[in-house]
Symmetry: C2
Subunit: 417 residues, 2 copies
């Protein structure tokens, strides 16, 4: 038998789960307080739905579930020989790689029973067959809010404020919300004279700007056959620092996307003046399904993205056949957990643990200890423990203190450890 | 694209998730108060671990995960032809079918960092490829507490009391705990003269006694070649009503298992006199890994099992190589959910939902409504909504009331709906 969890997955110790649960409780409380309601979808999804979603590079990372019994036998026997067998002949389901595709299917499946606009919480596990050497998890928790059924900028405002409140309530400070609109970026790309069919490739490269710089972007664009005057013009335009929404509007006069970004940023500034929100003209975000606004939260002290999202007005229509606008914001739960776990602070708001000792050889002592425990459980998490021999008592107390217990019962009261 | 969730899985609506989350909160609170601590293991497990576990008939119900890339190609190319390809050539992982096998692996993997005895909570999803026509779920939540590292009857007492408190706090009453010990049952079977190698088969049949009666049991035993004087003797012994622990002890004088059952039942009776605990000499429970006590909770008003468990002293040793006693109790979360969901009562302890309306055409009205919402969110779950036209206002309020909202903001206060 193998003792370790499968590659890219984790066993979590009790202290870690206490922190994870507490973080989830705080996030859920803030989300619910803002009028979002939690839904739940299966981890298993139909393989066709997964394969036909706009998941970008995630589509190559789907864990597929083997067909069973007769279905598997006939899939195999239909192949002329083993080299002709394809992955999708063998699998009928897969593990979801995000929560947005299942949400779209869910909305389409249940819309008769759902309000519109609908404010949704999803907090659940997703799976990606990442290369383990990258240190990435293959099983991890995502934590999303989405608003379905409105194109209004107010949806973006609600998502940003709610996400920022949750991040700050779980103890993250010093973060910045960066925001952009893909349609504005594409209009700027077009304004430089780059052909529309090259626009997506340019976006993908711009997304890497902070990692590889303009030199890297230029040479990768060159390899894709995108170079010349238009590309130079784009570089000159986008290299301006600072680059404001005014600059974007000069490049693309009368852009509704620029006006929309202004509305979002001004409402957020009025409602939460301490929140730092900046326009980032090159922000793209990976997912193929984003159509308009995109946002990302980076934490200054940890130098990395802790949340992100955007508008995906086309995805639900793939299921319903009619266009339904939608926008979502996802907290990178695993990153937050590893940041706060490394800090090592006590879990905020957790109840205190207390031990009641009893003589392990005496059934009546057990009953009396359990009676004591029951009276203490309104206030404490109380466990029973057989009393160690006198000379080991001090050592036992020491190790209980180390394990995070608050105290033990003695002489009618709680003695702190 | 397919709209419905895959067979045997569910989309849960917001009201359903509110109830599920609330039930889980109550259960977790009771478990934690009793000194149990939650752990978390991956849903994916190594296929060898799953296949070599004592999962009984569940082993045939494992969802297997297809190998990827090079591993899959070489697995296929190693087969001489398609008919030679075996399921396990193609899969390297599977979805766990219960939480007990992962717990055993977890304990063996992390024991250096864990206390002994260890009191564990697991509340998570498991997967079984049940035949959909049976109406059984293929993805469902299990809700377990286990005590690892003690053979004392006090572990059983703690599990029974904690489970009973959780069941009663989530609103289930009128339930009975039935208890037995497999080793006592086997000793009685042996005392009738049935050979030891036939003992497991007899147990499996006795487990069906409440469904098929003695006639059914006798004829199924006959088909297995188990009949004659010893079988008649067993039937005569076990048919006694009532069948008390005294009767068991007359059949197997000096049985330590009978004495242990007495200790458990008497301690539970002292600590929770209102709890109904009965000795059920034919209780077996399906899992192959149970070695001693087994228990089951049945709910009178719903006529079915809502929780069950037992002692599995051999399973952890499969991973560690040394014998470590363990005992667990699992609440059938999905059954509880469907019972309480059908009752349709309000979700106990949920916060009230309130709506703040604003003029959708006026950005300042949105900001002022959001400001109002923020002040109300300490007490209520507050959502913003664009105000409907005057003549539709009454209808909107009606549908909000139907959706479970408590009130809306008007003239500086909350107006109940």
């Amino acid at each position: 038998m193998k003792l370790t969890p499968v590659k890219g997955t984790n066993d979590y110790l009790p202290d870690e789960v206490a922190l994870r649960d507490r973080l989830q409780d705080i996030i859920l409380r803030d989300y619910r307080a803002a009028g979002f309601r939690r839904i739940s979808t299966p981890i298993l999804e139909d393989i066709e739905n997964l394969d036909h979603s706009d998941g970008g590079e995630n589509l190559a990372l789907i864990f597929k579930v083997l067909k069973r019994g007769e279905k598997l036998t006939s899939a195999l026997s239909e192949a002329s020989d083993v080299s002709a067998v394809k992955e999708n002949d063998l699998a009928d389901m897969g593990l979801r790689y995000d929560l947005t595709l299942p949400l779209s299917r869910y909305y389409a499946n249940n819309r008769a029973k759902l309000p519109l606009p609908m404010k949704v919480i999803q907090l659940d596990r997703v799976y990606r067959a990442e290369r383990p050497q990258k240190g990435r998890l293959r099983e991890f928790v995502q934590c999303d809010i989405d608003i379905i059924g409105t194109s209004s900028y107010t949806a973006e405002v609600e998502l940003i404020l709610t996400t920022a409140k949750a991040l700050s309530d779980i103890g993250l400070d010093d973060f910045t919300v960066r925001i952009n609109d893909r349609s504005l970026l594409k209009a700027m790309i077009a304004s430089c004279g780059i052909a529309e069919e090259q626009s997506d490739s340019v976006c993908i490269e711009l997304d890497k700007l902070d990692k590889i710089g303009w030199d890297g972007v230029s040479s990768e664009l060159y390899e894709k056959g995108i170079y010349g005057e238009a590309t130079e013009k784009l570089k000159a335009l986008m290299s301006r620092t600072p680059f404001t929404i005014d600059d974007a509007e000069s490049a693309v006069p009368g852009s509704p996307a620029a006006q929309n970004l202004r509305m979002i940023m001004s409402a957020v500034a009025e409602l939460d003046p301490s929140l730092r929100v900046v326009y980032d003209p090159t922000l793209v975000r990976g997912q193929g399904y984003y159509t308009g606004t995109v946002f990302e939260v980076s934490s200054g002290s940890f130098g990395s993205s802790v949340a992100g999202g955007g508008r995906y007005d086309g995805l639900i229509g793939k299921f319903t056949g009619e266009n339904i606008p939608a926008v979502g914001f996802s907290i990178g739960f695993e990153r937050i957990f590893s940041i706060l776990s490394a800090k090592g602070d006590a879990v905020p708001g957790a109840r205190k643990g207390v031990v009641v000792f009893y003589d392990g050889g005496d059934p009546d002592a057990f009953i009396s200890a359990e009676r004591t425990a029951v009276t203490l459980r309104d206030e404490y998490d109380v466990t029973l423990m057989t009393e160690p021999p006198q000379k080991k008592f001090g050592k036992t107390l020491g190790s209980l203190r180390q394990s995070g217990y608050f105290g033990y019962f003695r002489d009618g009261g709680i003695k702190p450890l």
